[in-house]
Amino acid sequence: MRKVDLAIVGAGPAGLAAAIEGAKRGCSTLVLDMNPLPGGQLVKQIHKFFGSQEHRAGTRGIEIAAQLLHQAETEEVEVMLGAEVYAIHDRTLEVAWAFTGDSSTSSSGGGATPPSRHLAIAARRIILATGGAENALNFPGWTLPGVMGAGAAQTMSNVWRVLPGERILMVGAGNVGLIVSYQLLQAGAEVVAVIEAAPRIGGYGVHAAKIRRAGVPILTSHTVVRAEGRTQVEKAVIARVDSSWQPVPGSERELDVDTICIAVGLRPNARLASLAGCCLHYSPRLGGWVPIHNSRMETTIPGIYVAGDLSGVEEASTALEEGRLAGICAASSLGKSNPGDDERIAAIEERLISLRSGPFCQPRQDAKQELIEIGEVQCCKE
């Protein structure tokens, strides 16, 4: 069985940041990701990030992914792609490795089934950074081909360069709905409307202004009533909603669209953590069920850490910081530390607090604090 000091599940911002810190401290570090590309959801973020200089404001997500990968490579982190961890027990990860991710070998099959093999990896410490998943929205017709997550549409157009549809209805005017709408316009689609059930736009004004300038109406207090079409989306019916979120009779309107994108939030992808036996806590402000963790990002299973959207849906910037924290703490628990790590941890904690400040983010800070307080009681103390 392959043995490593540190195994990390997920090659997004949290996982890569954790890997870099672990490797910097002398841990043999392996990152596993089921996707064919590393970088997590950064690879489709073609917009410039907000925030402070130290959180790479003004840098596009795709560039941050490239920087992280370069750093990981420099620190001799191994990234294994097409590798899905389907079980964890006794610090052993069971992995289904579907393909190599290396096109030079994967394209030589001549019609063969993709190579698939099972691997077991023994890790002294495990960091789960499995990210989030888009929420679905249940309405008649929501299962028709052409109804998809806004993130799916973003992946299709920005990563794979295939337009997911020609005429699009975006459901949800949070930052994801607004940003993806703009990016679909950039890719050449027509965004017929952005609708939002709440009476006001949830995302930043600057994003809303960009798509309004492009002539896309943003209809607040509107919901999607149904999708119509025989084998795929041919039409959407929307309606105004009243103050108790009910469609107002007579306000229905048909939109000629072939695609409906759903941008109604994300939830932590806690399935693997749950399988591994980590205790979960339900936190609406963090997006749903999250693994309980202490201030060192360690879960209720000793030696298993979490970071990023899995431990509460936030931003790439917070995922990076949590990843760093988890990486430093996991390495430290193996007796591998660098001089100045205590100060580094304090600085990360300070930056996390500043990222979670302001009226929009403070509720997350409170929820995170509550989670950590539970963790301090329930997780093992070293």
């Binding site: 089921m34 996707n35 064919p36 959801q41 073609i46 596009r60 097409g82 899905e84 579907a98 393909f99 991710g101 096109s103 994967s106 394209s107 030589s108 099959g109 001549g110 019609g111 063969a112 089934t113 993709p114 998943a133 888009e134 679905a136 299962t143 028709l144 081909p145 052409g146 109804v147 998809m148 997550g149 993130g151 799916a152 549409a153 992946t155 299709m156 157009s157 920005n158 794979w160 360069r161 295939v162 337009l163 997911p164 549809g165 020609e166 950039q186 890719a187 050449g188 084998t231 795929q232 992808n269």
Partner: protein
């Protein structure tokens, strides 16, 4: 659907080696390294499978390997997530009906 050839941020789509796959017997030219789901979407195919009980069509929903809505039969193997499985030369892809094979 169509390829996003020119893009204000990402630039012009660079050439990629062509990989031929066969979807329900029809030859499709894919870009090396892309997942099956991107190749079939570019060819205008949106239905990946039909559900077991009601025979309802399903397509791509999450696009990142989490929801399993986009599974198809690939080289005879059912339930392959087409959104995270890269194309391979000569790959045989079929629309999946129900669980994808009678003996399952």
């Amino acid at each position: 659907m169509r390829r996003v050839v020119s893009h204000p941020v990402l630039g012009t789509l660079t050439a990629a080696r062509e990989v031929k796959i066969y979807v329900d017997g029809k030859e499709i030219r894919a870009r090396e390294g892309e997942p099956i789901a991107a190749a079939v979407a570019a060819a205008g195919i949106r239905i990946h499978r039909y559900t077991a009980e009601r025979g309802e069509p399903r397509g791509v929903f999450c696009g990142i390997g989490q929801c399993t809505d986009c599974v198809m039969v690939v080289n005879g193997v059912p339930n392959v997530r087409t959104c995270i499985t890269p194309v391979m030369e000569g790959m045989i892809v079929e629309t999946q009906h129900g669980a994808g094979s009678e003996d399952r």
